[in-house]
């Protein structure tokens, strides 16, 4: 009997760990990780934002403007700003097609060429 209850306890623990992992996983999957580089560091080094639904680029920038202020919009919308969505660099000519989803990782930066 003792062995059975130990086994039950192990199984119960595993189930509870799995449930905890699921909760954490669902919470993190609602978050978008945002990183800032170069001049964007004046606003923040980085943050995580809860997202209930998918947003387009303008909506996402507006969300950040609510947190970081209107100056962020000016900076983010400049032609030379690089916007990185997960591992892809977004072509700014096609930014209207961008969709940011819960669980994504994004970054704002300025890329520099050689001289």
């Amino acid at each position: 009997m003792g062995e059975v209850s130990i086994a039950n306890e192990i199984v119960l623990n595993l189930v509870m760990q799995a449930m905890r992992w699921k909760v954490v996983s669902e919470e993190s999957s609602r978050k978008v990780k945002v990183e800032f580089f170069g001049p964007f560091r004046t606003f923040s080094k980085g943050m995580e934002i809860e997202l209930e639904r998918q947003l387009n680029f303008d909506e996402f920038v507006s969300l950040l403007v609510n947190i970081l202020g209107e100056e962020f919009r000016e900076r983010a919308e400049k032609e030379n700003t690089t916007f990185i969505l997960n591992r892809k660099i977004v072509d700014r000519d096609n930014e209207s097609e961008v969709v940011i989803s819960p669980g994504d990782s994004v970054a704002f930066a300025l890329l520099i060429g050689g001289g």
């Binding site: 170069g38 001049p39 990185i84 072509d91 300025l110 890329l111 520099i112 060429g113 050689g114």
Partner: protein
Amino acid sequence: MKGYAGKYLRVDLTEGKITSERLEEEVARKFLGGYGLVAWTLYNEVQEDADPLSPENVVCLWSGPVAGTPVPVSSKYAMGARSPLTGFIGFGIASGGVGSELKAAGWDGIVITGKASEPSYIYVQNGKAEIRNANHLWGKTTWETEDLIREELCDDEIRVSSIGPSGEKMNRLANITNDRNRQIGRCGIGAVMGSKNLKAIAIRGTGSVEVADLDSLLEFCLELHQRCRGPATEKYRILGTPANVLVHNRIGCLPTMNFQKGTFDQAEAVSGETMLKTMVKKIVACPACEIACDHINVVKEGPWKGTVASMDYESLEMLGPNCGVSDLNAITKAVELCDTLGVDTISAGATVSWAMEAYEKGFLTKEDTDGLDLRFGNGEALVEAVRRMCLREGNLGELLADGAARAAEKVGNGTEKFAIVNKKMEWGAYSMRSLQTATLGFATSVRGACYLRSGSYQVDVKGTVDRYHLDRSRGKIVSDGENLYAIIDSLIICKFTRGIYKSNDEMARVIRLVTGFDVDAEEMIKIGERIHNQAKLFNVRFGASRKDDYPPPRAFEEKMYDDVSDGAVIDRDEYEEALSGYYEARRWNEEGIPTKALLEELGLDTTLGV
């Protein structure tokens, strides 16, 4: 001729003779200046049997038409010779004030032949020049040489381009330094100066440059300078080019551990952001520059306390993450050694990282390294390896002094596969497999692996193309970039100002206002095409063909392993297609040789065409 002094110096070091030659207007119209006149000089003067380190090689220095005018950041100069590193055309462009000083002294360029019987330097002044003894300068660092020449000639405003001990020892990675922190870095031109017993070129001028339409030029330049202070150049001002470290790391194109990976887990420690907070002491600008990109680091503590070095992205990246080193003090010391002893930082970093990989894989032993534990990440070993390489000291120094390709040839055992080079020149700080348009540009560059010939990395990092794949259309992107960059490097203006010109028309307008040449944007690009083909013809003379236009084996045979670009590799068929697309865009044949019809159209010698 407006915008030009209209004459250049010819210095025969063997005979100790200096003459003045006229720069014909037809030549100036066809090749503009800088890179263009380097290509023209070398094609016409370096014979097929000229060993790069023999008196038969020619070394030349050219300014451009805009040097000494109000055009923003226009004080640059170019130097060239047959490269002892690649065997092909070798040239570099440096910032600082040498270009405008030469024009102020009344000269457009200097063509140097022969070999001096003892260490010498050339002193150029208003309308005259002399060869002076440099026995007392031999063995001195570049910084010491600059100071000693100014002291000797009692003039603090003399501009000096000099070699360090590495150039004297004819290291094939040797560079030329001016204004302390500016270099003709690549292709080993410093070794050519060393082979000629030429320690330095010192220049002092007080004249001015006459332009075709001064009023209009001043008005336009006022606007250009205002744009220079605007968003187009903002990125260079704040963190300087080291801002690239974290961004390149984020997008998986930061060469790490000899180009094995595209991310570095300690990138934050070597970032521009960290550097600005902890090490940057001073930010410096070139003459006529509103940007001030040059960030000077000072080491504040530890064994290298007091070390001073100008830190740009390429130096930082190649001697940092690419060697697995995250200690900014060690990286700064390695850069200082390169700058003062006279070796190109990019090639130094790529050569040491090759040695680190060879050591970790057992191809180099402690006997080969003279006891140095040359593992990736060992900052002290990096500093010591760089010092020995610069001075050809011991087994390791002798092995590394001529670059990664030659070191790998000596060691063999397959180490050639991870010498990251093209045309035997070390690859710059852009990942091969996660920036594939850039790779096509690097590999087809006339001077060997180089990010500055076409700027083709731009379409990769802007997301305009799929950077993990290639197709035929990339060839035209590289070709178009080369034509425009040939103009930028011939005028010569700083590439950091390319964004202030709203169109090619505006750049052509600068040429018109300065020189009076009737050049529109289309004609300007045609000049760029001519210059590039002239440089290519030089390479064809020395046997260049399709075989020389490939990245190293690692690009095709090994997949990257990191969080961002994991699995990235260049598909060989895609590369072949892109390379053929490049030749097609250039109107060269499938072997990469210009056709006679093209050369005739461009007004170039057709002898080597097909």
